[in-house]
């Protein structure tokens, strides 16, 4: 609490609005900046302010105080309100902290992958994307969610397409992402239309109240739930709707992949939690049916099939992208269990996976930066060529598998416990089986890197060439964080428990 007293009062009071307005405004200004260095420094300052602000908000939440920020002083349900509570604040902090770490990494990485004159607009698009992601997490108004969802998506399409100067397939990947993403967002907005027909309001808390009074509402509300679930499912790469993800992750600039992998699907997953448990409620028949049978089923399918697909990839980034889809499956399973323990385990995995996958993609970006490597076969000798980066990759990989004393272990253990509590022994078995699959695809990369000797070019062994410090710092920060969570997870477990408590209480 001491740290909190160092914060100026206005920063906490207006923090919710500042988190959205600052990157949006600075994004517009950055777009017309003449120099690359200047735009990077601006991005750095903005993300730093965002991190500090959201950390302050996180501290107030831990103090047990939630906030309702009324934009323009208009009371909900007529005005638009921003909500700061136990459910969204950890995600807010995650997004801003990841934005800060990836920006640090961006300076060398973007210099290698994006053409010079496109760099200031690139940072601008990044900041607008951050604003969109934060906006969709912080807002308490359902239509606002759609607007911010599209703001973040549109800038993400641009960011993915920027990979074209390195790999032209980025263009088709961005195009496919655009088509599927827009369909997803449109499904979501159709769902909102039906919700509005049923309840006549757009404030999420208000919709929740009215639907509870109507005891779930008529068939219109059911249809709304279906559309919203599919729309968000597309955004969060729920199993059969994940086709956009591997391409987008594999061909985007490294920096964008890191940011997308650790925040974009997570924000969509947060919305799924928010809509399923606080706007709708699992006490309605149709919601609990979808949660128990559809979300769990698709989650399990994702864990199995995406992990299997990950094993057969030749491209390391593609393999990890499929692994991301599998990890989304774990989170969906957590939602499907639908008990407080299951939800907190799913939420914990959401936070942990962001840290782990962020670290892994940072390492892959560094491999490309130094040696232009993306294929797993080319990993040969990386253990000797880039010992520090490969060390970080190894630790993060072990965490992804779920080796004890890593973050992945903590969340998987909680998930297994929650499944056992509900007597879903098959689910617990599948979690263990898919962890074995993770050993195969991560193990394959590690084996190639450590047990094959570095390649020879013109009779000379390729020299050791470690990644620059600017890349190593965010990488090792995330890796050490994942180990720290593995050793003592009290803080983050508490946050996840608070989030689950918000969900179980129906949001109020």
């Amino acid at each position: 609490m001491d740290i909190l007293s160092a914060y100026p009062g206005w920063l906490i009071e207006h923090g919710a609005a500042l988190l959205v307005i600052l990157p949006l405004l600075m994004g517009a200004i950055t777009a017309i900046m003449p120099s690359e260095r200047l735009s990077w420094v601006t991005t750095m300052i903005v993300t730093l302010v965002l991190t500090v602000t959201s950390f302050g908000l996180l501290l107030t939440i831990m103090g047990g105080e939630s906030q309702l920020y009324r934009l323009g002083g208009w009371d909900p349900p007529h005005g638009i309100s921003f909500v700061i509570d136990g459910l969204n604040t950890p995600v807010l902090f995650l997004i801003s902290a990841m934005a800060l770490l990836t920006t640090l990494y961006a300076l060398p990485s973007v210099a290698a992958e994006v053409e010079p004159k496109k760099r200031p607009p690139f940072y601008a698009a990044f900041m607008v994307g951050v604003a969109g992601l934060i906006g969709m997490v912080v807002t308490g108004d359902a239509f606002n969610v759609f607007v911010f969802l599209e703001v973040s998506s549109i800038s993400t399409y641009v960011l993915v397409a920027m990979g074209a100067s390195r790999d032209r397939r980025a263009l088709t990947a961005a195009y496919n992402y655009l088509i599927l993403g827009s369909i997803g967002a449109t499904f979501f907005v159709i769902g909102l239309g039906f919700l509005y027909m049923e309840t006549g309001t757009l404030n999420m808390a208000d919709i929740g109240r009215i639907l509870a009074d109507l005891d779930g509402g008529s068939r219109v509300a059911m249809v709304a739930f279906g559309f919203i679930t599919i729309g968000l499912g597309l955004k969060l790469a729920m199993f059969p709707l994940h086709m956009w993800l591997p391409g987008a992750y594999a061909h985007a600039p490294s920096f964008v992949t890191v940011f997308l992998a650790s925040t974009a699907t997570k924000a969509a997953l947060y919305l799924m939690l928010r809509f399923t448990f606080t706007v709708f409620d699992p006490s309605f028949d149709y919601v609990i049916t979808v949660v128990t049978y559809v979300l769990t089923g698709l989650g399990i399918a994702a864990m199995l099939f995406a992990s299997l697909q990950a094993i057969f990839q030749t491209d390391a980034r593609r393999a990890l992208a499929f692994s991301s889809i599998a990890q989304v499956g774990y989170m969906l399973l957590g939602i499907g269990i639908a008990t407080a323990a299951g939800l907190s385990a799913g939420y914990l995995h959401l936070l942990n996976h962001a840290v782990i996958k962020g670290a892994l993609f940072l390492c892959l970006g560094a491999f490309w930066y130094r040696y232009g490597i993306t294929r797993i076969d080319d990993f040969a000798g990386l253990g000797k060529m880039m010992p520090w980066t490969m060390g970080a990759f190894t630790l993060a990989g072990l965490s992804l598998i779920g080796v004890p004393a890593t973050a992945g272990f903590v969340s998987k253990l909680n998930l297994v416990k929650a499944a056992l509590d509900k007597e879903w022994y098959w689910a617990a078995t599948i979690i263990v089986v898919t962890s074995v699959l993770a050993i195969i695809y991560i193990g394959r990369m590690l084996l190639t890197a450590y047990f094959q000797s570095p390649p020879e070019i013109d009779g000379e062994v390729v020299a050791k060439n470690e990644a620059p410090l600017m890349m190593l710092i965010p990488m090792w920060f995330l890796v050490l964080l994942s180990v720290a969570i593995g050793i003592n997870a009290d803080l983050i477990s508490d946050a996840a428990r608070d989030a689950a408590a918000v969900l179980m209480s129906g949001g109020s």
């Binding site: 607007v147 641009v158 088509i179 827009s182 449109t186 509005y196």
Partner: protein
């Protein structure tokens, strides 16, 4: 059966447009045609929102002066019209007739919402078209089959041509 369809013709149009749009997106192999399909699909949603704002017998949501009364009476009328609007915002089903006032207004809120959605749709379309232009520059084609073929050969050979 047919009378139900014709009485609810606006829903029929929404559904037809929605399905046509989605079908074009999924069946077409031409990148521009896909974007056209996407736009049709989004337009169906605009229509959906616009139709739900209409209250049967409702007027456009513009405050009208009551010619019969003047002075203080007009002021009062003004106030009731405003509450009327608020009531429209609260519940579509109840329309504006909630407070027993004389003037029944249509609900303007969905129209305002859809203005935002139209802007978003235009932005998405613009980005999509810009991407197609770049794809045409790089691959020399906007047919998905041709592009996939080029990528497939690229993957096999492992070199750019």
């Amino acid at each position: 059966m047919f009378s139900t369809i014709f009485q609810n013709y606006h829903w029929s149009i929404v559904i037809i447009l929605m399905m046509v749009g989605l079908y074009v997106v999924f069946s077409s192999r031409n990148l521009i045609k896909k974007l056209v399909g996407l736009s049709v699909f989004q337009t169906s949603v605009f229509l959906l929102y616009i139709t739900i704002g209409k209250v049967a017998g409702g007027q456009p949501p513009i405050l009208v002066e009551d010619h019969g009364s003047g002075g203080g009476g007009g002021e009062e009328h003004h106030a009731s019209a405003v509450t009327n609007l608020m009531a429209g915002g609260e519940s579509v089903a109840a329309g504006g007739a909630h407070h027993g006032a004389e003037i029944l207004y249509s609900n303007p809120l969905p129209h305002v919402l859809i203005l935002t959605a139209i802007v978003v749709g235009v932005a998405t379309l613009a980005i999509g078209l810009a991407l197609v232009v770049r794809i045409r520059e790089v691959y020399g084609s906007i047919e998905e089959d041709v592009i996939n073929n080029i990528d497939y050969r690229y993957n096999l050979e492992g070199t750019a041509d």
